[in-house]
């Protein structure tokens, strides 16, 4: 499953591609929405680990504009619900992720991102 919680951790790792290799850009993304259990404590605990602008940008690419550009100081329920939806309920089932730097394409099929590299691309 490629949810945005995972997208926020992945970067291009092709040979020599070490800068501007995050976040990967979605291409031709087919999205499925599926309910997930809401856990406010988990979300609060996960917030400090997120690259916020990358998350907001990725959500917008997938058509979700509910998150503010700046991470809010007040973590009220309304905000946490939106964060929950963006992080955990949007599944990218098909499509690809493209490196903003070297343009390497990482295909997504059946919800699984293919992060494998060919032998000559391995750094």
């Amino acid at each position: 499953m490629v949810r945005l919680i995972t997208h926020n951790l992945l970067a291009c790792h092709a040979k020599g591609c070490t800068s501007n290799n995050f976040p990967l850009l979605f291409q031709d993304a087919a999205v499925e929405l599926r309910d997930a259990d809401f856990n406010a404590d988990f979300l609060r605990g996960f917030l400090p680990r997120l690259e916020w602008p990358a998350l907001v940008g990725a959500a917008r690419q997938l058509g979700d504009t509910s998150l503010p550009a700046e991470q809010p100081d007040m973590l009220d329920d309304d905000f946490l619900q939106k964060l929950h939806h963006v992080l955990l309920e949007i599944h990218v089932e098909e499509g690809a992720m493209v490196c903003p730097n070297c343009k390497h394409v990482y295909p997504i099929s059946n919800g699984i991102p293919n992060m494998l590299l060919a032998e000559h691309e391995i750094g």
Partner: protein
């Protein structure tokens, strides 16, 4: 924060003493106490997740730990992504790759949190981790096994990251169902260029793919192939007329001390000091290290639990 004060335990009834000074207090402070535990959610990676067996763990804190499964087998990942009948995050990649952004499994910009953690004596609750269970033994040279350990070390926090590695041991216990055959020949490893060293043993472990058993042979209806793998050839309920397919999986069975040495070598190669963090920081220079928290043999496997530190 009020000071800690000496307590005098009245000996009349220890039970009622505890009831007053422990149990009643926890009952009273429970919601707040609980909210101070595991405040930061863990994030970890399972390198070589297979069918995702370990992704639902730990079962007692399902919401506070987020583990991403990585594997080289797409078909195992198709199973892993619904491990425990819940949507899991899985990534198709090689354990020799590092497809994560810098600091993906590092709790960044949280000095206050870390301080708070130390204050509560809950350092472990804030650590990020990587596990590699029964995976590294599939890599066919000492160097590749070492690289895999290095990728694991890179994935976790350099300050407090934890790792756990399990590999199969040469020494199998009596209860082990593993059928360890004779040593694999170098030719069978296709390339003769591997420098297979160490006291470990390179073997092929057969996997017998069970063929579907037809309960009603008269019906011509095609049944869905039941591909239930079994660990040992003789136990499979095999159809008599179809020869079972046997797949030989490469394993490097580790000898005593070999995994620990591998981890230490991997750490030294990337410039880490191996051992416990020094008590006092005298030089003012930043030192990064790796501590073997525990290692040993368990149920036919060798394991190493490690922790990274910085001073």
């Amino acid at each position: 924060m009020p000071d800690v004060q000496p307590a005098t335990v009245s000996c009349e009834s220890l039970q009622s003493y505890e009831a007053t000074h422990v149990h009643a207090i926890y009952d009273e402070i429970a919601p707040h106490f609980s909210s101070t535990r595991y405040k930061a959610s863990w994030v970890g990676v399972d390198l070589g997740t297979g069918n995702g067996k370990y992704l639902p763990l730990p079962a007692d804190r399902p919401g506070s730990v987020w583990t991403i499964g990585l594997d080289r087998s797409i078909n195992l990942l198709k199973i892993a992504k619904r491990a425990g009948d819940v949507d899991r995050e899985v990534v198709w990649a090689d354990v020799l790759d590092n497809p994560w952004r810098r600091g993906a499994f590092v709790c960044i910009s949280l000095p206050s949190l870390r301080l708070n953690a130390q204050h509560w004596g809950l350092k472990r609750a804030y650590q990020d981790y990587a596990i590699s269970i029964a995976t590294i033994h599939h890599l066919a040279s000492p160097d590749r096994r070492k690289f895999a350990v290095q990728r694991l070390l890179e994935a976790i926090s350099p300050v407090h990251g934890c790792g756990l590695i399990y590999v199969w041991a040469v020494e199998q216990d009596d209860l082990s169902k593993r059928n360890i055959p004779a040593r694999a020949s170098q030719d069978e490893l296709r390339s003769g260029s591997f420098a297979l060293t160490g006291n470990g043993q390179d073997v092929f472990v057969p996997w017998v793919l069970a063929q579907p058993v037809e309960p009603k042979p008269k019906t011509r209806k095609q049944r869905k192939k039941a591909q239930t793998p079994v660990e040992e050839p003789e136990s499979a309920p095999l159809a008599t007329d179809v020869p079972p397919q046997i797949f030989n999986r490469y394993y490097h069975l580790f000898s005593q001390g070999e995994l620990t040495e591998l981890v230490m070598e991997a750490a030294l190669d990337v410039g880490l000091v191996v051992g416990q963090p020094p008590e006092v920081d005298t030089s003012g220079k930043r030192i990064r290290g790796l501590q073997i928290v525990q290692d040993g043999w368990e149920m036919s496997n060798y394991y190493v639990e490690l922790r990274r530190w910085e001073q």
